[in-house]
């Protein structure tokens, strides 16, 4: 067995590449993820850079050709995996034994105390913005009673099931998306008690093939109930983002959301003020419909970061209703840039704060 492995490694070493003007081979430059050989079959993956996928496809063919020259191999399976450096160590730790949501590097909850403050619209646009920054992103619509994500992305087809019996998320705008709304028709109300909701959430965490996402954005339902508690108990969340309008009434509830996450030790990434101001398209006069800078003030008071504000703009509402979020339909718009700047802040905060580690459980 090990003889075959040596042959495989030798063959791989014979594949030369030029990196930064220096000649080398794909083994020494660590292009290859773990090589597995079993029953005359060889499996390996090439770490590929998404921006240059063509080059890696060529490399893949080359590797397959070289390995096919080895006698005694029945099957050669070469796959491309995309990666970024900061999650490298995570994906390498026994990938095969993990499932469902376990391969996701960072889970971020988008929450508010109150409904109707624009959580889902903000969630989908932030997901797109983080994807624009070069990360693999998914979005989980955890609002069982009022799923809005299907409408916001203009998609209602039923998800497919993989050979292993996992639900495959809907892929749209380069994002993996799952919502209870894909499983029921738009007009059907979910008339469920708590335990049903909890099992639906568990199913969307465990039985969906999320893959090795860098970020999973969870669009939380409003309030502090069953879903929030299940999420906090079932998954180690990297952090929570609170959305609020500047209005006092919304802020009271936002504060409750903050307190809940503090209780379950989920770091607060910060507060986003939505519907911060309205600029009249006719006279360009700015009106603070829900009051001025309320969320920013509250963030200071609660000693959490203020991530930015999103104005009330008719274009956000129109693109949302049309199922083509502003980040996808017009990434150059000024609100799109606001979402991008918030996404940058979130990503940089999460990579710093994820050092708050959970304990290791050791059974002697």
């Amino acid at each position: 067995m090990s003889q075959i492995k040596d042959q495989v490694i030798d063959k791989l070493k014979s594949i030369h590449i030029t990196l930064n003007g220096k000649k080398s081979n794909i083994i020494d430059e660590k292009f290859i993820d773990d090589v597995v050989i079993a029953n005359k079959k060889v499996f390996l993956s090439i770490k590929a850079d998404k921006s240059n996928i063509e080059k890696y496809n060529q490399l893949k063919v080359k590797v397959e050709n070289e390995l096919s020259k080895i006698d005694g191999l029945d099957k050669i399976s070469v796959s491309l995996t995309s990666h970024n450096d900061n999650q490298l160590d995570k994906t390498q730790s026994n990938k095969s034994s993990r499932k469902g949501i376990d391969l996701v590097s960072n889970i971020i909850a988008i929450a508010s105390g109150k409904g109707g403050v624009g959580k889902s619209t903000t969630s989908i646009n932030l997901a797109l913005a983080i994807n624009n920054l070069g990360y693999k992103v998914g979005i989980l619509d955890a609002d069982i009673y009022g799923p809005s994500i299907p409408k916001l992305i203009g998609e209602s087809k039923k998800p497919k099931v993989s050979d292993e019996g996992k639900i495959l998320p809907i892929i749209k705008f380069n994002i993996s998306i799952m919502s209870i709304g894909f499983l029921i028709s738009e007009g059907t109300p979910m008339i469920w008690r708590g335990p049903m909701v909890i099992s639906a959430i568990n199913q969307m965490l465990n039985d969906v093939d999320w893959g090795d996402l860098d970020y999973l954005i969870v669009d939380m339902p409003p309030g502090t109930g069953d879903v929030q508690l299940t999420m906090a108990q079932r998954v180690p969340m990297s952090g929570a983002v609170i959305i609020s309008t500047p209005q006092d009434l919304a802020l009271i509830d936002a504060k409750k959301g903050l307190e809940m996450f503090k209780k379950v030790n989920v770091p607060i990434i910060g507060i986003i003020e939505n519907m911060s101001t309205f600029i009249c398209p006719h006279c360009n006069k700015e009106t603070y419909i829900f009051g001025k800078e309320g969320a920013e003030f509250e963030a200071k008071k609660q000693n959490v970061d203020f991530l930015g504000d999103i104005p009330l703009e008719v274009v956000i509402r129109e693109t949302s209703d049309n199922g083509n979020p502003i980040l996808s339909s017009n990434p150059e718009a000024s609100v799109s840039k606001k979402f991008l700047s918030i996404a940058e802040k979130i990503v940089s905060k999460v990579s710093v704060s994820s050092s708050t580690k959970n304990p290791n459980i050791i059974i002697e």
């Binding site: 999420m231 906090a232 108990q233 079932r234 998954v235 180690p236 969340m237 209780k263 379950v264 030790n265 989920v266 708050t356 580690k357 959970n358 304990p359 290791n360 459980i361 050791i362 059974i363 002697e364």
Partner: protein, 116 residues
């Protein structure tokens, strides 16, 4: 958060767990954890519903499971597995170990119950 342990070690004989913090470590035994389970089955939903758990001297810990970022769930070999022990609660149990234990023993006596 200083309260989060670095390691949680379940002993070989399943009779105690050691919480290793960055600057100290504390040992809590299975019986103490079992009779002070924060579960609603033990604490009830108000102080007057609190149940006295007895005859647990030989109870063993059958499993520890991480709950989100804030707690562990401890399962015991008597079937009790609904107690979610937050970092804060574990720290409180350790800090006030002696007074909690004395109160437990005196309540056992008062009600004529045994540890075994």
């Amino acid at each position: 958060m200083l309260l989060i342990p670095v390691n949680i070690v379940l002993s070989k004989n399943k009779k105690n767990i050691t919480l290793e913090y960055s600057e100290k470590s504390s040992i809590l035994d299975a019986e103490f954890l079992r009779v002070n389970s924060p579960s609603a089955e033990v604490k009830g939903h108000s102080p007057d519903q609190k149940k006295l758990v007895y005859k647990k001297k030989n109870v063993m810990i059958s499993g520890i499971e991480l709950i989100g970022n804030y707690a562990i769930k401890i399962s015991f070999d008597d079937g009790h597995d609904t107690g979610i022990y937050t970092w804060q609660y574990l720290n409180d149990l350790y800090q006030s170990h002696d007074s909690i234990w004395r109160a437990y023993i005196s309540e056992l006596r008062k009600k004529g119950m045994e540890r075994e």
